[in-house]
Symmetry: C2
Subunit: 412 residues, 2 copies
């Protein structure tokens, strides 16, 4: 958690972290500032010291609201910096970083950099900084493994409250979708509006976005509501024009975040409208059994990858091909068991092939557990997903309860 | 526009462009792919050739839907690349880029890179690529001036249709907000609910998000609805707990985008509930006069910065301090006249201090015109903003009409 930053910087021998970009929809900056309408800022924390927020003066009130020590970016003379850099804008920004680092007492050593920005522009600035400060080492980290992600992996109580609230909103919306569907009429096995037109996936997704907005959430990554063949392709989101046919598997995966780009929730159910054909029921039964088995086995401080192996083992025992045996698989159990969740919809700990021995169920982590089976050629897929918290006492807790039923009866 | 990419690459002597990241809320990748649920992809275009999309196999259907030539990222053997890079993940990704560039016929030369990603991870990968391919030059570009932003600055008809549609949605929502406010009751000069509780800015913002979702838009950057002192600070978004007092200036700046991270609109009105005190009316009259004057003077192919200077001149003639005379200004006319708008809420052409002679009203550009005056110590501010298109025939067009009135009568 955030209070671990200094300890992690010590362990990794990092002298300062530099975070850049907006506070919204930019996890690292949100983490440092608590969000708010900062469109472009820098936050620098030297090891052992409080972070300093460098802000655009038009956003001085928002900067002050973060409670961080602040410094006006206009205090660095742009014209002079540009002149000093021979007219090169990236060079001028690099010189400004040099001065900002100096402000927090850093003249060399090892720094790590974070924040979403345009990679070309960012590369140019930090390459120029590296040239201007040869004694500085920009520590190479990856998108899946960094000091920042390591800190974020375990959540404090405030963060859990945010994620739990998103879980309530998410399951409330899923409940409304189920209720909406169950109240419709079917005509020739297709859900049909009172005016005789068929309902489409687009109609359902519009309602999802409306209800999320009503409850104060954002949905920047969209929703998976995929039927038939598309349910058999894990990341297929479902075609807006697809009709809602009875007896077909629907994978409904929803992952909204707090308005302003805060904490996410991640949740999946598989539904069949009206009735479940034998093949879909059998697929569901296999996923449900593995979901139950794995959920029951989760133990604090175990490596997440252990459960990925276990899930493969359980699916293989049920005669399904798995990614553990073939990494290029497109049928069967084709993905990893889950992932951490927080300010990113996907973050540490990891469970798949990139997991390390640090990706464990440490107290404080929040992860998704989402076994699934995919048979696109047979026109079906199934995934069940819940978000689980590992509290300090180690007793796993699903952060929002919701029935796992497959069939949505059509009562309209 | 997109069809200019090859010409611009020729002019800037760039052999290939590399675009990375998700397709949603990532303008460069959205531009190349047309959006869709690609969570992590690469798109590489060599000069004179069609772009190739390198996709994650879980997203093969979404990749195919782009209509681009596609290649499965799993065709690059991860284990082998990691081994070749001595276990270094960034190095392995760099080697994969090397092979992907080879796939499009690039073994050296000048490339430009785009796409939002975590800067630390991105820097590590491209620094490793630079090391692995010493004959490659990663062209340094800036966030405000790149080949990609130059292409994006002029819009084709399809893009204009998207922005126009967002203009309709935006002004529809603004109209609903005005209607909601006008129908309320005032008690002791504060807008009050039937139950006697005061309405707050948070209540208004929740309705804005709901109506935007209902009309199919997203609001990832939030809305400015700022009253009194906060209206006097351009980027202050307004406090959720603030009450809606009569006779105070409200700056209402709304900038939603298409669901999935597509095109934006940007629009501002300044309102006063019930009545306008003389000081607010005088402030509004000055902004309105300058808005009208500048709008009337806009001419095709003129530098945007010309109108920034003109706006300063007009405000100075009305005795207001301006940023043209003092770049650290916090009172008066403190920002630039406007900016381009498209897949970014702020893009080229620029009008302020970073504008170049290429930032002109070329046929095809879409810009905001948003003069404003800010007096936080006097508890007031005013901005009027519309989004303007410069069509091929050069006759400027506001993309969504809406009345400019200051006073919202309270009829409840």
């Amino acid at each position: 958690m955030k209070s671990d930053l200094d300890r992690l910087m010590q362990e990794k021998n990092i002298d300062a972290i530099v975070v850049t970009g907006p506070a919204q929809h930019n996890p690292a900056m949100y983490y440092m500032t608590g969000g708010g309408h900062l469109t472009s800022a820098d936050c620098i924390k030297a090891r052992g010291n409080d972070a300093v927020l460098f802000y655009n003066p038009m956003e001085r009130d928002e900067a002050a609201a973060t409670g961080l020590r602040t410094k006006n970016l206009n205090d660095y003379n742009r014209v002079q910096l540009l002149k000093q850099a021979g007219g090169d804008v990236s060079g001028a920004l690099a010189l400004r970083y040099q001065q900002m680092l100096d402000e927090v007492g850093i003249a060399g050593g090892r720094i790590a950099i974070y924040g979403k920005m345009d990679i070309g522009a960012g590369y140019a600035v930090f390459a120029a900084l590296q040239k201007a400060m040869p004694d500085l080492e920009i520590v190479p980290e990856t998108e899946r493994d960094s000091l920042m992600l390591q800190a974020m992996a375990t959540k404090d109580e405030t963060e859990i409250a945010h994620i739990r609230q998103m879980g309530q909103i998410t399951t409330e919306v899923v409940g409304r979708v189920a209720e909406f569907l169950t109240l419709q009429k079917a005509k020739n096995n297709i859900l049909t509006q009172p005016n005789g037109q068929p309902w489409t996936i687009g109609d359902v997704k519009r309602r999802i976005n409306l209800w999320l907005a009503e409850l104060g959430a954002e949905n920047p990554e969209g929703t998976i509501f995929a039927i038939g063949h598309d349910a058999g392709v894990p990341h297929s989101t479902g075609k807006a024009s697809d009709l809602l046919r009875l007896g077909q598997s629907i994978v409904f995966d929803i992952f909204p975040c707090q308005a302003g780009g805060g904490y996410y929730y991640d949740f999946t159910r598989t539904w069949c409208l009206g009735y479940a054909p034998d093949a879909v029921q059998a697929l569901y039964d296999d996923v449900f059994a593995v979901y139950q088995q794995v959920m029951g086995e989760l133990k604090v401080n175990t490596p997440f990858s252990h459960y990925q192996e276990r899930t493969c083992e359980l699916f293989e025992a049920r005669k399904h091909p798995t990614i553990c045996l073939n990494s290029n698989l497109q049928e069967g159990y084709v993905h990893s068991l889950g992932h951490g969740l927080g300010l990113h919809v996907h973050e540490r700990p990891w469970s798949g092939s990139t997991a390390t021995k640090e990706d464990i169920f440490a107290p404080g982590v929040v992860v998704t557990i989402e076994p699934g089976l995919y048979y696109p050629e047979k026109g079906m897929g199934c995934r069940l997903e819940d978000t689980v918290w590992v509290p300090p006492d180690g007793e796993m807790e699903i952060l929002a309860d919701f029935p796992l039923d497959l069939v949505i009866p059509i009562k309209g």
